[in-house]
Amino acid sequence: MLSRTAKIPLVSSHPEVYEPCDDSFALVDALLADRTNLLQHHPSICMEIGCGSGYVITSLAVMLGHEGSIPYYIATDINPHAIRVTRETMDAHGVYAELVNTDITSGLEKRLAGSVDVLVVNPPYVPTPEEEVGCEGIVSAWAGGENGRSVIDRILPAADNLLSDRGWLYMVTLTANNPSEICLEMRNKGYASRIVLQRSTEEESLHIIKFWRDSDCQLELKNLNYWTKLVRS
C-alpha cells in the first residue's frame, strides 16, 4: 500500500531541530483521520507554522498529493536549520513547499490575508520560564512561556488573519494550555471548534483541535455585540 504519511527514515535531522515526537504523530494522525474531508475541501493553499523537521507538512503533502500545482504548500519556521531540514525531508519524499524563515507569519500577513484554506500548527506549547521563549536553538522548539501560551497567543490572531472564509486550522494543545479557553477566544473571533484527537502519553495529555469559521458563531457574535451595546446605552 502507498504510504500516506512521511516516512520516519526519510525525515532529515539536525541537533538543533525538533525531531518528530508524540505531538507530531498525533497531529498527523488527526489529519489522516480527516483526510477524506480534506480532499473534498479542495484547498488551494495549505500552510504550516513552525515546520521543524518537516514531518507534518510533508505528511500533509503526501496524503493530499499534488494535482498540478494545487494545493500550494507554504511553511515557516523561526529556526533556519529547521527550514533547511524541512527542505531535505520534502525532497526525500518528492514533494514541494515554499519555505520562509520568519517569526510566525511575519512578512506574509499583509498579502496572504484571507487566503489559507488549511493551516496546521504544532506550536511550542510547554510551560517554561518566559526567558526561554524564542531563544536560539532547540529550546525555542518547545518553550511556551507561562501556561505554554506565549507563542500560541501570537499564533491565534495570525491564523485568524490568514485563514480564508472556508479556512480550517488544526492545532496541537496541551491540557496546561487551557484548550477550552483557547476555543472560547476563537469563538469570539467567529470560529467553531472540535477536538479531533485526544492522546495521553506518559508525560502529557494532548488535544488536536480543529477550528473553522462558523456563520452561527459570527451571527451569535453580532447579536452579542448588539445586546452589550443595548445594555450599556
Partner: protein, 122 residues
C-alpha cells in the same frame, strides 16, 4: 522561492509605510517545471498584484508578461501559460529581497527567503 511567494511577501520592518513589492536582486534563477492547473491560476489571478509579478518576472529575465492584465485575458491559453510559467516555474534560488522604503536586504539562500528581523527593526 517562486514568484507567487514573492507576491505574497512584504517588508515587515516596524514603522515602514511602503512595504510592497520587495525588489528582487538576482544572483541565480532556476526553472522547475510544474503541471499546469487552470483553476488554480484563475483563482490566483485575483490575489496576485499584477504589476509586481510582471516586474519581478522581468527582473528574473522573463519578459513575456504584459504590463497590465484583466480577467478577460484568462480566456487565452497563451496568456495562461505565460502566467503559469512566471508565477510557479521561475525560482529565485540565490539573491535578495529589498525593502522598497529602507533598502534593507532580506537574503534568499537555496531558495529560502530570510525575513527574520534584528531587534531594532521589530
Amino acid at each position: 522561492m517562486r514568484l507567487l511567494t514573492h507576491n505574497m511577501l512584504s517588508s515587515n520592518i516596524k514603522g515602514v509605510a511602503n512595504r510592497f513589492p520587495l525588489k528582487i536582486e538576482v544572483v541565480k534563477v532556476v526553472e522547475k517545471e510544474v503541471d499546469f492547473n487552470i483553476d488554480f491560476l484563475k483563482n490566483m489571478f485575483h490575489k496576485v498584484e499584477w504589476k509586481a509579478l510582471a516586474e519581478a518576472s522581468r527582473t528574473m529575465g522573463y519578459t513575456e508578461l504584459p504590463e497590465t492584465a484583466d480577467a478577460t485575458m484568462l480566456d487565452s491559453d497563451d496568456f495562461l501559460h505565460k502566467f503559469h510559467h512566471a508565477l510557479l516555474e521561475l525560482h529565485l534560488e540565490e539573491g535578495a529581497l529589498v525593502c522598497p522604503e529602507t533598502g534593507r536586504k532580506f537574503p534568499v539562500n537555496k531558495g529560502i527567503p530570510n525575513m527574520l528581523l534584528h531587534e531594532d527593526e521589530v
